[in-house]
Subunit: 199 residues, 2 copies
């Protein structure tokens, strides 16, 4: 056994292709599959295919959904005049955990990144503009991540929305709760001072 | 989207069941699958089933194999009179990387662990005794991990092999190469002193 057996090697390469999985973890996972019962392995394979076939993009907000319209877009109790623009569905999950936001969302499906060859045309910005034209939207909260690409995308969208009579806001930058000034980076501290509020 | 969509939740639970995968990693992996093309997802599912169906236990050494007899057991160039007893196939991979050992192997499929309800009868010890009776084995190297269970299993097997005219050895304990005495634990240091050799 100079190297891994072929089926084991192929399986570990599949695990390796997943986000954040290293070579050693991938091999360990492939071995875990070998230790599963046949039924469990079949259920695992089925779960992969199920996730791909049963999940689609919501026709309205472009988030993932089991139906044509996702549960948030279909909800009567949510405020459809406020739209929070996020990079991906994972951001929605994070924001929904807070249980404070009652508006709806719009998923861009990424951020503008010239390095990765992702221009604005590859994001769901056209769909956002369509929503603004068709729906009665009063505020757009841009909640892309505070990274270089996320900031650039926020800037791009905010300029694009200038002609419309809509309030466009950006989520705040600053020190995370529980942080220590000593260890905060300069840019975060600068933003925290810039964004100071009267108490 | 209070929680994960059902198919996504089911898939992340499958990932969670793998060795060493935490909850957050499992969710991230499930999202990775969503971002795959349909073909890639199908190939992934197929790789899982392939690994389970194409890989069996070698009839001789009980390691994983694509054929009835694994490549090491079937090899003419290896010394079949020396058998290295290991916990699992992963140990074989690690030992084969060294390229120093030219004997064959025997995989126990675990270690004796009363806490986990694993007695000697659940390991491939019977198969090892059969090999000793049938084959012309001169030395057994016990290479279970130097953990409490691994040591207990090594002790159990060495006692079991007493009646046979075979040399039974145990791999050495000591400081790993590149280690620092300052940070070594007491048991390892004790073993390193005990196992000292003239230079």
């Amino acid at each position: 056994m100079d190297t891994l057996l072929k089926p084991l090697k192929e399986l570990s390469e599949k695990f390796r292709s997943l986000d954040g999985v290293g070579k050693k973890s991938a091999v360990r996972m492939a071995f875990s599959v070998l230790n599963m019962s046949n039924e469990d392995a079949e259920a695992f394979a089925r779960a992969i295919l199920d996730a791909k076939t049963k999940i689609q993009l919501c026709r309205c907000c472009q988030s993932i959904s089991e139906s044509e319209i996702c549960s948030i877009c279909a909800s009567d109790t949510r405020d459809h005049s406020v739209v929070c623009v996020v990079e991906d569905a994972k951001s929605i999950m994070a924001l929904e955990k807070v249980k404070e936001y009652n508006g709806v969302y719009h998923v861009l499906g990424g951020v503008i990144s010239p390095m990765k060859g992702i221009g604005p045309e590859k994001l769901k910005i056209k769909e956002l503009l369509e929503r603004i034209n068709e729906e009665n939207i009063e505020e757009i909260i841009i909640a892309t991540n505070p990274t270089v690409e996320g900031e650039a995308t926020a800037m791009y969208i905010s300029r694009l929305l200038k002609p419309f009579e809509i309030t466009v806001t950006r989520i705040a930058n600053g020190l995370p709760v529980g942080a220590d000034l000593e260890y905060a980076d300069a840019v975060t501290l600068y933003r925290a001072i810039q964004g100071r509020r009267e108490i």
